[in-house]
């Protein structure tokens, strides 16, 4: 059968961000794929070296346009470790609260994108409507819907009062009812099942070979979550389940992310109900002692790594960022192999790629 090469991107209606994918198809079957990224590369790792530690928070927040808060969390906790700062418990609780709200927002956004890619526009509309509940809460807390500017070196820049806590708790109940509805769709809706089952499959062994992380790894049966395995902030004080599935297909990833959203809601409730009193930040010196640190966080897409080296000045000698999308991209060719051309959008959406993150 003759082969045909199909270019997808860098600009393409099925892509939300620039990415170039060259697919080779025999009839309807994909037999080969090559990938090129870098269209959103901004040279951030170089820029970090020319700014001081405080200025860099602003840039770190802009690595990703979805999970901006977890980036500043990883960066700030790294710098705090170099400085030997003890961050006050109230600050750590608020930091963690924003991390979990951000996870719900990211997972709902993703569910909408997937639904749209498989032609299920109703779910896309409802998830993005209900995602506004989380965005409103984050905007009230921080002033920003996506870039929150909550983290500072030594603590946080926001506070919350008891009236506001009650108001958020009430809205989290509304949101939980909606997420339960989406879970029902994922579990029982025939359209959803046929477009996601056995598609984009990644076995546990394949996921390990490509060092895949986060919900994609967990949907392939790899039981790993840094919030439980190497707790940071106040995750060691929270009660939550790590959701693992074994099918490794787009459907399993949907299950994992949707159920994780429910867990995150429970964590937000625990954080709001048990919020300790006390200061919000400690003073941080401008100069950071010479040393190095590796700071890891569980971003909505998985393990996020910041390596920071200090030479004793007020500017880092090196900041390295590894975002969870990179290993997912490395494993993409395996998932596209031998699938039907019409399933390509579902596979691309299923991975939850964040290209701006990967390109930096």
């Amino acid at each position: 059968m003759s082969r045909i090469t199909i270019p997808i991107g860098p600009q393409h209606p099925a892509l939300k961000e620039p990415l170039s994918l060259l697919l080779t198809a025999e009839g309807e079957r994909i037999v080969e794929s090559t990938l090129r990224i870098g269209y959103a590369h901004r040279g951030l790792e170089r820029i970090f070296q020319n700014r001081n530690y405080v200025q860099n928070i602003h840039i770190v927040e802009r690595v990703c346009g979805i999970c901006s808060h977890v980036h500043t969390t990883a960066y700030c906790q790294g710098v705090e470790a170099l400085l030997g700062l003890q961050v006050p418990p109230r600050a750590l609780y608020l930091r963690t609260l924003l991390c979990e709200l951000e996870r719900i927002h990211s997972h709902l956004l993703w569910l909408g994108v997937l639904a749209e890619h498989i032609g299920f526009t109703t779910v896309f509309m409802y998830t993005w409507r209900d995602r506004e509940i989380v965005l409103d809460i984050m905007e009230e807390l921080s002033g920003g819907r996506v870039a929150h500017a909550v983290n500072a070196i030594g603590g946080v820049r926001i506070d919350i009062d008891s009236e506001h806590i009650d108001s958020i708790l009430a809205r989290l109940d509304d949101l939980e009812r909606q997420i339960d509805t989406f879970l029902g769709v994922v579990l029982h809706e025939h359209t959803f099942q046929v477009r996601t089952h056995a598609i984009g499959r990644l076995t546990a062994e394949q996921a390990r070979r490509y060092c895949v992380v986060g919900p994609v790894a967990r949907a392939s049966g790899i039981d790993v979550d840094l919030r439980r395995d190497e707790p940071y902030a106040v995750y060691d004080q929270l009660d939550f389940r790590v959701i693992v599935a074994h099918e490794g297909d787009v459907w399993a990833r949907t299950m994992v992310r949707t159920m994780e959203s429910v867990e995150s809601l429970q964590m937000c409730r625990q954080l709001l109900r048990n919020l300790p009193d006390g200061p919000l930040a400690v003073r941080a010196p401008r100069h950071v002692p010479a040393g190095e640190v590796i700071s890891r966080c569980e971003a909505p897409r998985g393990e996020l790594v910041y390596y920071i080296r200090s030479d004793g000045s007020d500017r880092p000698a090196r900041v390295k960022v590894r975002t969870p999308t990179l290993p997912s991209l490395a494993a993409l060719a395996e998932q596209l192999q031998d699938i039907n051309t019409a399933d390509v959008p579902a596979v691309l959406a299923g991975v939850d790629l964040c290209i701006a993150c990967a390109d930096r």
Partner: protein
């Protein structure tokens, strides 16, 4: 991962390497190896401890040399460090052992001009195809 056992095995296998294990925040052990022993060390870690999760590779131009840091993770962090000369730095690829290393090696390669011998696709990764400037993370040469 039992870090003491890992260090003991590395020490027995590479008695002449500096190793100099030290702990850095947050919960990470850094071990120094000579460039020629890095790949055998990774092979040993995979065979003995099934340590296959390579978080990333960090390349640093210190001004005197190019440092390469291989960050592994299994419950806690283990970083293998090695140093290459600034002139014509070469090292051997790991992608046959860890396919996930492919992107990290390409990135280190174009940002610092390191050659990973045996890498099948050493093409531009993040930089434009027609990039002609200096490698972005190299320190400027003294005037």
């Amino acid at each position: 991962m039992n870090i003491d056992l890992v260090l003991q095995v590395l020490h027995e296998r590479f008695p002449t390497d500096p190793l100099k294990p030290r702990t850095v925040p947050i919960d990470e052990t850094v071990v120094t190896l000579t460039p020629e022993n890095l790949r055998p060390a990774v092979q040993t870690l995979i065979e003995r401890f099934d340590l296959r999760h390579l978080s990333t590779i960090t390349g640093i131009d210190t001004g005197d040399e190019i440092e390469l840091l291989y960050h592994f993770w299994d419950g806690q962090g283990l970083t293998l460090r090695t140093s290459l000369p600034r002139e014509n730095p070469h090292t051997v690829t790991l992608i046959d052992l860890i396919p996930g290393a492919a992107f990290y090696e390409r990135e280190a390669s174009e940002m610092l001009h390191i050659v990973f011998d045996g890498h099948p696709t050493p093409d531009p990764f993040l930089l434009p195809d027609d990039w002609e400037g200096a490698p972005p993370l190299r320190k400027e040469e003294a005037p």
